[in-house]
């Protein structure tokens, strides 16, 4: 333990990155950027009270990008032997000559604005100090509580995992950034019912701080509740009905929206929202924000992979598309500003969420005469080019404002463009259980296909 900590003193990762950036310049690169990530991982699976898997490891990776005459080459390695890294740098400069010149390639000017990593509260020293017994105990306790419910007939097991990650980024424009972050997650997966009529679901809590993690009782209770409520499902007749998305479902809908407002997808014309900036794409209930600055949240970070500071960006404001999310490359392509969403060669969300409304979820349900509460989906079925959605689904049928029975073997289909205009109600239950999230919403009409 002591060894590993000594080895990850800030200076040596940063020194490695700085050396490589300088070496790239010596090899003829006009610009270079180097990232080094040093991670420690712990992971335990417990099933039926016994440890099934125990993983403990540390690893480092290095990524680099060079630009020569506006031509780009990338390289990465988990072999951090200096000789290997120098060879990769030399090769990258040589390979860059074979790519096409790209007028949009190149680093952003170094930003004078900096975000203090400490202010973002991304690191919890308590996680590094947890002993194995405590960590294993959390998984074991969560599963034990879940299995003590007689309706639960089998377990996929409970898991507890932690990560401690130090990241360094050095750019030839003078940017040097470094920060530490932690992550912990507790989850359990369950089955209820007999072999041929089983239902399953799971629940989890994921946080940067150990103290904020949900207790085993809470994770177990929600996993049990989510599993048993699906017992004895019925099929539905094919029909068009209102659909209420639980927060976990709004979450994937938002992930799909992110894919459609990503600057990369926009310049590639791979999204139905290309060319719609400033237009109304949804109704007044829809406000979507990407915020990399929320203290302690999973999607926060001080700077992106272009070395630009994280920021808060309004993506959709009361239905109007205000911003695409861009790295410096997509921003130049689209003649926009970077929003600090660079991630490797692409664009990724920070904390990307639908702003909550004022309604309690139970009021949204009680005002629904007939409809489907969407609780889980299976499969891919998302087409960002057209906005089409078609997925296998599980849910709870609502009649006269009350839960009537669970349903399965159905599909839901619709179109994101239409859904954004058809949102009738937005709940007040926004939680940052994942970086991409949203509250309960009600969509006026979608096709639910069954028999």
């Amino acid at each position: 333990m002591r060894e590993a900590r000594a080895a990850s003193r800030p200076s040596d990762l940063r020194a490695l990155a700085e050396t490589l950036v300088a070496f790239a310049a010596k090899c003829g690169a006009d610009e270079a950027e180097v990232s080094v990530v040093d991670g420690r991982e712990f992971d335990v699976d417990v099933r039926k009270g016994r440890i099934e898997n125990l993983v403990e490891a540390g690893s480092r990776t290095c990524g680099l990008k060079v630009i020569k005459d506006k031509r780009t080459a990338y390289a990465s390695s988990s072999d951090l032997v200096p000789e290997t890294l120098r060879r990769l740098v030399r090769n990258a400069v040589r390979r860059a000559e074979l790519a096409s010149p790209d007028e949009f390639a190149g680093q952003a000017p170094r930003s004078i604005k900096l975000v203090d990593p400490a202010a973002l509260d991304l690191f919890d020293p308590e996680i590094a100090g947890l002993d194995s017994k405590t960590k294993i105990g959390l998984a074991r306790e969560t599963e034990r509580i879940a299995l003590s419910d007689k309706r639960i007939t089998n377990s996929h097991g409970a898991n507890f995992g932690t990560n401690e990650i130090r990241s360094v980024l050095v750019l030839s424009n003078g940017f040097v950034g470094e920060f530490e972050q932690t992550y912990c997650e507790l989850s359990v997966g369950l089955q209820a019912g007999e072999t041929d009529s089983r239902v399953e679901d799971s629940w989890f809590s994921a946080k940067r701080h150990f103290k904020k993690l949900a207790a085993p009782e809470e994770v177990a209770r929600r996993a049990v509740e989510r599993t048993v409520r699906q017992l004895r499902p019925r099929k539905l007749r094919t029909q068009n009905v209102p659909v209420i998305f639980e927060p976990t479902q709004t979450s994937w809908l938002m992930a799909f929206l992110f894919a459609c407002v990503s600057g990369t997808a926009v310049y590639q014309k791979a999204t139905f929202l290309a060319g719609k900036l400033g237009e109304k794409i949804g109704n007044g209930l829809v406000t979507v924000v990407d915020d990399g600055l929320l203290p302690g949240e999973l999607g926060s970070r001080p700077f992106d992979s272009d070395g630009l500071p994280a920021q808060k960006t309004t993506v959709v404001e009361r239905g109007v598309l205000k911003n695409y999310l861009c790295n410096i490359y997509a921003a130049r392509k689209l003649q926009l500003e970077s929003t600090g969403n660079a991630d490797g060669g692409g664009v990724s969300p920070n904390n990307f969420f639908l702003e909550p409304g004022t309604l309690a979820p139970r009021d949204i349900i009680s005002e629904t005469k007939k409809g489907l509460i969407l609780t889980r989906t299976l499969g891919h079925g998302l087409n960002s080019v057209s906005g089409d959605i078609s997925r296998g689904a599980f849910g709870l049928w609502v009649e006269n404002g009350e839960l009537a029975y669970p349903v399965s073997e159905i599909t839901i289909s619709g179109n994101l463009g239409r859904i954004l205009n058809d949102i009738e109600a937005v709940g007040n239950d926004l939680e940052f259980f994942s970086p991409v999230t949203g509250p309960t919403i009600k969509v006026a009409e979608m096709t639910v296909a069954g028999t």
Partner: protein
């Protein structure tokens, strides 16, 4: 050293892989000894050194190239049904020892077993038929392939608005040593060329995808599937979808196209025949060995030894020689896909299906090349037998849960009206329960084929390359999720 150079390991040759990792077998034996130090009953070292190349083209330019090196070592210890695992990408003995100690912690007690002396296990004939190794070819050659596919897609039709194409190849050296004295090594090549075309007409956009590759060399793109075919097929699908109608919704007879629909077998049946889910009794099949679960037409195999296929390997990631495994015979469950741990706990023979994404993951039972065997009908006869139904031309993916419920995304389909394919249909989802579907397969064609050699399967956060296949199949009734 190219994969073609040694279809099997030369007996008596030095140990290039161990040399490759600059590690001495005597030291590695000490590591295994250390790993068994707390009372584990089996220990294993998995070493990997891989190189990877990538070229992509978009916006009419060769946008970037990438090179990547993956080096690392994982140590696994089994103690009964428990697994301890540690890994490192720093191959100093000090760090390897640390990984071994982390793995050993799964057991608590005194050492019970000592590692046996290593005996190198020769491999059977290689299933990687490479004549032009990609790792030896220059970058210019690879750029040429990407450009050819790109231009073919762009020129195919005036309505093609955007094209992307990319090529990737990798060469992975692995060595596995375990406390039973097993020592085995393999060098696995892989290539893949993919094209995505986006069409546009009156504000509507659609996309088409095509690609190919496998554990082959660059000769594949001359002999089997040309870059031009890949580009044109992607463009053809994108253009066709511009005219496609929304899918119908509701229950109806389904005809699955040969090859591409293999993903349905992979999802609906294959996953639930992986031994770990059955050992844990979470799979719907756990109590159905020897029982009839499907119609007589359903015979399913998984064969990791089909030459050149993406899912193939000479040896699995635990050092076991793989064999074609019968999973379902005429509707009766006959076998599970086993890895070492599940085979041991279930008292079954290993089938060579223990696979891992890379050195940082432990092996789990996985599919390789899964297919449903051919039947006797001509494909036309099958379509002719349907009055009103849905023909699945290409599927873009699927997902299953252990209870047997699954879904598939259909990217292109056709309506079947009076025994004929009529209007093209876009974006639909199929949903069902595997046992129902297996029982409802009531016609199978004589035209067994495999889908695109581009597939990757995810399980428990691990991605591995796979292939799947099937003949034309008719399912008497299934739910299609479209729009009404």
């Amino acid at each position: 050293m190219g994969p073609n150079a040694s279809p099997s390991t030369q007996p008596g040759a030095p140990l290039p892989y161990v040399d490759h990792f600059s590690l001495d077998p005597a030291d590695l034996r000490k590591i295994l000894d250390l790993a068994l130090g707390s009372g584990g009953d089996f220990a294993e070292i998995y070493m990997e050194h891989g190189t990877y190349d990538f070229v992509n083209m978009e916006e009419d330019i060769i946008k970037e190239t990438a090179e990547s090196v993956s080096l690392g070592l994982g140590v696994r210890v089994l103690a009964g049904d428990k697994t301890g695992f540690g890994y490192t990408n720093d191959l100093s003995l000090e760090k390897i020892r640390k990984a071994a100690l982390a793995a050993s912690a799964i057991a608590a007690g005194k050492a019970k077993a000592r590692p046996a002396r290593f005996r190198e296990k020769p491999l059977k004939k290689s299933v990687y038929p490479v004549s032009t190794p990609a790792n030896k070819a220059g970058l210019k050659k690879k750029i040429g392939l990407v450009e050819e596919a790109y231009v073919a897609a762009q020129k195919f039709d005036g309505r093609i608005a955007k094209v992307k194409s990319y090529f990737q190849d990798s060469l992975s050296h692995i060595a596995i040593l375990n406390s039973d004295g097993l020592f085995v090594r393999d060098t696995r090549p892989m290539v893949k060329l993919v094209c995505v075309a986006i069409s546009e007409q009156r504000g509507r956009r659609e996309f088409g995808f095509w690609g190919g590759g496998g554990r082959v060399g660059l000769e594949y793109f001359g002999d089997v599937l040309t870059p031009r075919d890949i580009g044109e097929q992607a463009a053809r699908e994108a253009v066709l979808l511009l005219e496609a109608a929304d899918a119908p919704a509701g229950e109806m007879p389904i005809v699955l196209s040969p090859g591409h629909s293999g993903v349905l077998i992979h999802e609906a049946v294959g996953h639930l025949l992986e031994a770990d889910f059955n050992r844990k009794k979470t799979s719907i099949f756990w109590n159905k060995m020897g029982k009839k679960v499907g119609s007589d037409l359903v015979t399913i195999y998984d064969d990791p030894r089909i030459p050149a296929f993406r899912g193939s390997y000479n040896v699995d990631d635990e050092g076991t020689a793989p064999r074609r495994t019968l999973l379902i015979e005429k509707g009766v469950v006959r076998g599970f896909l086993q890895d070492r741990l599940s085979a041991r706990l279930m008292g079954q023979p290993m089938t060579g299906h223990g696979r891992r994404q890379d050195y940082s993951h432990g092996p789990i039972p996985r599919m390789a090349n899964t297919y449903i065997d051919r039947g006797q009908y001509a494909p036309e006869e099958i379509v002719k037998s349907v009055k009103r139904g849905f023909y699945v031309a290409s599927l873009s993916g699927g997902q299953v849960e252990d209870s047997g419920k699954f879904t598939f995304s259909v990217s292109l389909g056709y309506l079947i009206e009076d025994g004929k394919l009529t209007a093209p249909v876009r974006q639909a989802t199929l949903i069902g329960t595997n046992i129902d579907i297996l029982k409802r397969i009531d016609m199978a064609g004589s035209d067994l084929r495999f889908g695109l050699q581009t597939g990757t399967c995810s399980k428990e956060g691990q991605d591995v390359p796979v292939a799947d296949g099937c003949p034309t199949l008719k399912i008497s009734k299934m739910t299609v999720g479209g729009r009404t």
